[in-house]
């Protein structure tokens, strides 16, 4: 019963091809010798010229990449702390009696609802809201406003992933730790946190990807010197046909495939080692 017909494979392959088609086109065109200043998308010959001066200061791509990376780094770091703490605090709710009292517990529930809202509403709303808020607070737009807004949508990814993991954890594990002499804090650090760590990491990776990829919110809260990569790409694409963009995209693609491949390889190796140790024992 649980078996696919060959047509299912054909269908999946077709969808995947469509999924990768635009990406492949971009990769192909990154080697196009056609300068493409006019809206001419013909492939005219192989060339590496767009790679050679990709990170030339004049293009601004290098700076944009650095901006994006540092915004993503700080946003994810801070979100990881806020989101993981939040997940630990709210994992086994509702509790019978809250330390914060009835009103405090209700406020916390409202806070939780608000914290996950950013991934459910269109980004443009938050973009405008942040822009208006920062203007009203007379904050100058730049790194700080970008990081503050990115945290808002990074937190829910980490919070939900970690909370989901904590919910599947056997509550008996922490009880067992307490029973064996661990204080509440040590039970948390020696049992719960190590077990939640994979979820923290995968939540962070997801949040990192979202931060690197965010265009809409950054569009509204960026400053004159903090153009992020998506913003840079948008302005290039908007005004004309930027051949550098193709090269940049290809570089990023290779980086992503390299990282994902490494991850898979490491995982496979750990698995093999585990299986080997089982065999050696028996």
């Amino acid at each position: 019963m649980k078996k696919n017909s060959p047509w299912a494979g054909v269908y999946m392959a077709l969808v995947l091809v469509l999924l990768y088609l635009p990406i492949l086109v971009v990769v192909l065109f990154s080697f196009n010798s056609n300068p493409g200043r006019t809206a001419n998308f013909q492939f005219e010959g192989f060339s590496m010229q767009w790679y050679e001066n990709l990170f030339d200061p004049i293009t601004g791509y290098g700076q944009a990449l650095m901006n994006s990376l540092s915004i993503a780094f700080w946003s994810v770091l801070l979100s990881a702390v806020i989101g993981t703490l939040g997940a630990i605090g709210l994992a086994r709710r509702p509790v019978r009696k809250s330390v914060l009292g009835k009103a405090g517990a209700a406020a916390l529930s409202l806070g939780e609802q608000l914290a996950v809202l950013p991934i459910m509403i269109p980004e443009i709303i938050l973009g405008i809201a942040f822009m208006a808020l920062f203007t009203a607070l007379k904050m100058s737009f730049g790194m700080v406003t970008l990081v503050l807004s990115h945290i808002t949508f990074c937190v829910p990814y980490i919070f939900i992933t970690v909370k989901g993991r904590l919910a599947t954890l056997d509550p008996g594990l922490e009880e067992a730790a307490r029973d064996l002499g661990a204080s509440p804090l040590r039970a948390l650090t020696t049992v719960t946190l190590p077990l939640a760590l994979p979820a923290v990491i995968s939540g962070c990776l997801l949040a990192f990807a979202m931060s690197m990829d965010d265009f809409v919110i950054s569009f509204f809260v960026n400053g004159p010197t903090t153009t992020t990569l998506p913003l840079k790409v948008y302005s290039s694409v908007k005004v004309g046909v930027p051949p550098h963009v193709n090269a940049l995209c290809t570089v990023m693609l290779v980086a992503v495939f390299f990282l994902v491949g490494m991850g898979q390889l490491l995982q496979a190796r750990a698995e093999r080692r585990r299986l080997k140790s089982v065999k050696a024992d028996s």
Partner: protein, 367 residues
Amino acid sequence: MPVAERQALLSLRDLHKVFDTQEALSGVSLDVYEGEFLTLLGPSGCGKTTTLRIIAGLEMPSRGVVLLNGEDITSLPPEKRQVNTVFQNYALFPHMNVEKNIAYGLRMRGASRQEMKEATEKMLQLVQLEGYGKRQPSQLSGGQRQRVAIARSLVLSPRILLLDEPLGALDLQLRRQMQQELKRMQQSLGITFIYITHDQEEALGMSDRIALMRDGRFVQVGSPEALYEKPETAFAASFIGETNLLHGRAAAVRDDGVLMDVGGITLPADSDLWISLGDPLCLSIRAERLYMSAAPVKEPCQVSGILTESRYAGGERVCVIRLPDGQVLKSRHPTEGEVPCVVGDKVCLWWHQASAVIVRDDLEAAS
């Protein structure tokens, strides 16, 4: 040595526990003695796990006191109690290997590496898992996990080891084997065990004493023999072993017992209960303590009825007999030297007066 003369190691005094609006425990009191194997037995939801968790410190009683060695530990957190638990699903730490699991408690106490290593070795030996120290819990069988869980608790030399249905997840054969092993360990280490089960056979075979629970209360506490031979209530009689409950009224009250009227038949019975003439009575007779004959016999305790069912079950035969007043009795007889009776025959059932006991009927009230 009579139990009552010793000082209790653990005392529960009138424990109450209310969850939301539901009362899980309503007045539980019990003394547990040094070196004892005590079993909390009862159907699911009777409050036995709650009692255990209160002893472990994982739950606070709504009311009542827990004393360990005469010291009030009611509000002491679990990590400060010399009591350890073997959890129902073992609760082994999945991110630590067997060794680290076992050494966890010592690590929390700040033991040295050397101490931990030695103690872990010793424990692995005790539970017969030498050489398994580097395995992950996921690489162990159910029985092996069970042993690790026990070793992890015993390494701390607790005053009391609490076991919450530790064999529940194992198959029958492994279960039998682990029962013997647990009993052996308990006797050789001399540690007090408080053991939870809902399996009456397990309770009868392992315990020094059984505390039978129902609806958040102890129904009866005593040795396995006492619970089986002299159940005080209809619930106790029917939860442990198989029994027949014969309903009737007190026809006469005498010094040495009562005469009971069951649908016109008068039966003598022993009783320690306070009974007045005309009271409704409930008589418990074990199925295997009934004898069957084709014709009436010269015994004071006998009833006759129609054999409505007769089933061969290997070493014994299970029979069902319907009495004239509609009550039904189930009996078990050795298949060797069987009485030749067939379904539809009129038969006579008899028993020794001492093997039947008048019990308080607490089943009607519940249903």
